[in-house]
């Protein structure tokens, strides 16, 4: 007996003979053997995904033979990095800049070797804490690195210099002083 008889079938049967019994109510078919169809379907999908992955890996194995060696990738990387100006790297490419032991010492009898730039000395600057936290600290170019206050906090030091010919950096320093526009470089 067919499961699920359509309405058209039942109506034509009833028109044919009034003695025919009403068809039993439609019942959905039970899955054979109690099988979890949902689980089987998911398992099949997993297998299909794996088999697709196998195909992709086999393709990749064929193409890997023709790939360039890593050394060429490294050369490309090196060439690119070397050709691109980088504000962080250009600032630190001279090893003596940060290796000068005497950079922060300001004592007249200490000689800064020729390898060092002239040190910026906090010891030469007013040591009062209140001074270092005030905008007036930024007035002295030589002491600016000792100040504990940032330029953005001091409006008169927060002008931008876009055309300073004294800047030897490729990037514009946006926090330089209008009154002290001798240099826009930190």
């Amino acid at each position: 007996m067919m499961g699920g008889c359509s309405n058209s079938c039942s109506s034509s049967s009833s028109r044919g003979s009034s003695s025919l019994a009403a068809p039993p109510p439609w019942c959905p078919k039970s899955p054979p053997g109690g099988l979890d169809l949902f689980g089987k379907g998911r398992q099949l999908v997993k297998v299909q995904i794996l088999e697709r992955e196998i195909g992709l890996l086999q393709e990749e194995l064929k193409t890997v033979e023709g790939l360039q060696p890593a050394s060429r990738c490294c050369k490309e990387l090196d060439d690119f990095i070397g050709a691109k100006p980088d504000p962080f790297v250009s600032r630190n490419e001279k090893p003596h800049k940060s290796s000068c032991r005497w950079k922060w010492i300001c004592l007249s009898w200490i000689y800064c070797s020729s390898e060092c730039q002239k040190p910026t000395s906090c010891a030469c600057c007013p040591s009062s804490n209140s001074h270092r936290h005030s905008c007036s600290c930024l007035e002295n170019m030589a002491c600016q690195s000792c100040c504990k206050i940032t330029r953005p906090s001091c409006p008169r030091f927060s002008f931008c210099c876009f055309n300073s010919s004294l800047c030897n950096r490729t990037k514009v320093n946006l926090c330089c002083s209008k009154t002290l526009h001798k240099s826009c470089c930190l």
């Binding site: 297998v47 890593a70 940060s98 690195s145």
Partner: protein, 356 residues
């Protein structure tokens, strides 16, 4: 086919996949002709000098204070003059990067935000998180009667959290999201519909949560994704059915991916404590960046960024450390340099790459 036969087929297919991957790895090793450590070996052999930083060479020049919860994400405008940050205090804040002033403080419908992004024109910001929705805000829109900026679009469709989002370069109308539902999606923001779904249950893609995306700045049809399945994958937006290439090597969740400035390589950061550099055309792993610590604690890499030349790789770790790696020589040249990022309740886990 019976379930038992399917299971047997599954086991056989798994063995075949593992065997093929092993063969592929062996063939790739033969192509690593420089040194086991690839880039560093090449750079040393060619006399590259190291970059060094002194104690005062990397200093904090701005502290953007305002969030009252963990800062999970931030993004810059292409002009690099504004920042949007997302915090689990339930707000997006838009900052003027030069003056540190806040221009917008957007109250979010869902506080559990994980990612944010600026549109290429800077007019829109996008965010997403545990609500599984990517919300778009027009910064030029008027506020509503409560003073809140209304959402201009909601991109609904992910079945899991939105972990990362990025606008397609030069297109305010398209962005890509990654999600805990194992997929990435390319959205048409105008219609609010998904243009393409990368991965998912019936396609070849990530097999676990996708945590990060990065779009190639040189070719915006290509993007990479990083996932809890320990892989990174390269995608072509024209082909959603399968990844162009899968990059193995990490031994833990790949939390962050970022394209290298030249567009031919990308970096990754992982729960296994390493950052790695991969080549997209060949699939080579070019370098690994890892620092052993005396306490043997594995510090998960949560975020990375490259300097403009790619010479420096900035990496943030789960314990709050931030290290600067010389990409060529694989040397850590600065570490724990920004303790200020950890002050108060804000804990920045994403790195800006302008630091002056």
């Amino acid at each position: 086919m019976s379930v038992a036969e399917l299971k047997a087929r599954h086991v056989a297919a798994t063995e075949t996949v593992n065997s093929l991957r092993e063969r592929l790895q062996q063939k790739r090793l033969l192509l690593l002709d420089t040194d086991v450590v690839a880039v560093a070996g090449y750079a040393k052999a060619h006399g590259k000098s190291s970059v060094s930083f002194g104690a005062t060479d990397l200093v904090c020049c701005r502290t953007l204070q305002g969030h009252t919860g963990k800062v999970y994400s931030l993004d810059w405008t292409p002009e690099k003059n504004r920042i949007v940050s997302a915090s689990q205090d339930g707000r997006l804040i838009v900052w003027n990067a030069l003056t540190s002033q806040k221009t917008h403080a957007i109250k979010l419908p869902c506080a559990w935000v994980m990612t944010c992004a600026f549109s290429p024109t800077g007019q829109f910001v996008a965010c997403g998180g545990l609500d599984s929705v990517c919300s778009i805000f027009n910064l030029n829109s008027p506020s509503d009667k409560d003073g809140n900026l209304p959402e201009s679009k909601m991109l609904s469709g992910h079945k899991g959290y939105v972990s990362s989002c990025q606008y397609v370069p030069d297109e305010d109308t398209h962005l890509i999201t990654s999600s805990g539902d194992h997929t990435c999606v390319l959205w048409d923001i105008t219609t609010g519909l998904r243009t393409s779904v990368f991965g998912g249950e019936f396609q070849s893609g990530h097999t676990a949560d996708v945590l990060s995306v990065s779009i190639n700045g040189s070719n915006s049809r290509m993007f990479v994704s990083g996932s809890c399945d320990s892989t990174a994958r390269l995608w072509d937006t024209r082909v959603a059915s399968r990844a162009v290439r899968t990059f193995h090597g990490h031994e833990g969740d790949v939390n962050t991916v970022k394209f290298f400035p030249d567009g031919n390589r990308f970096g990754t950061g992982s729960d296994d404590g390493t950052c790695r550099l991969f080549d997209i055309r060949t699939g080579h792993q070019l370098q690994e960046y890892y620092q052993q610590h005396s306490d043997d604690e594995v510090r998960h890499v949560t975020s990375i960024a490259f300097s403009i030349s790619g010479r420096l790789l900035f990496a943030g770790y789960s314990n709050g450390d931030c290290y600067v790696w010389d990409t060529l020589l694989a040397q850590c040249i600065a570490g724990k340099i920004w303790p200020l990022f950890l002050k108060g309740n804000g804990k920045c886990t994403h790195m800006p790459f302008w630091l002056f």
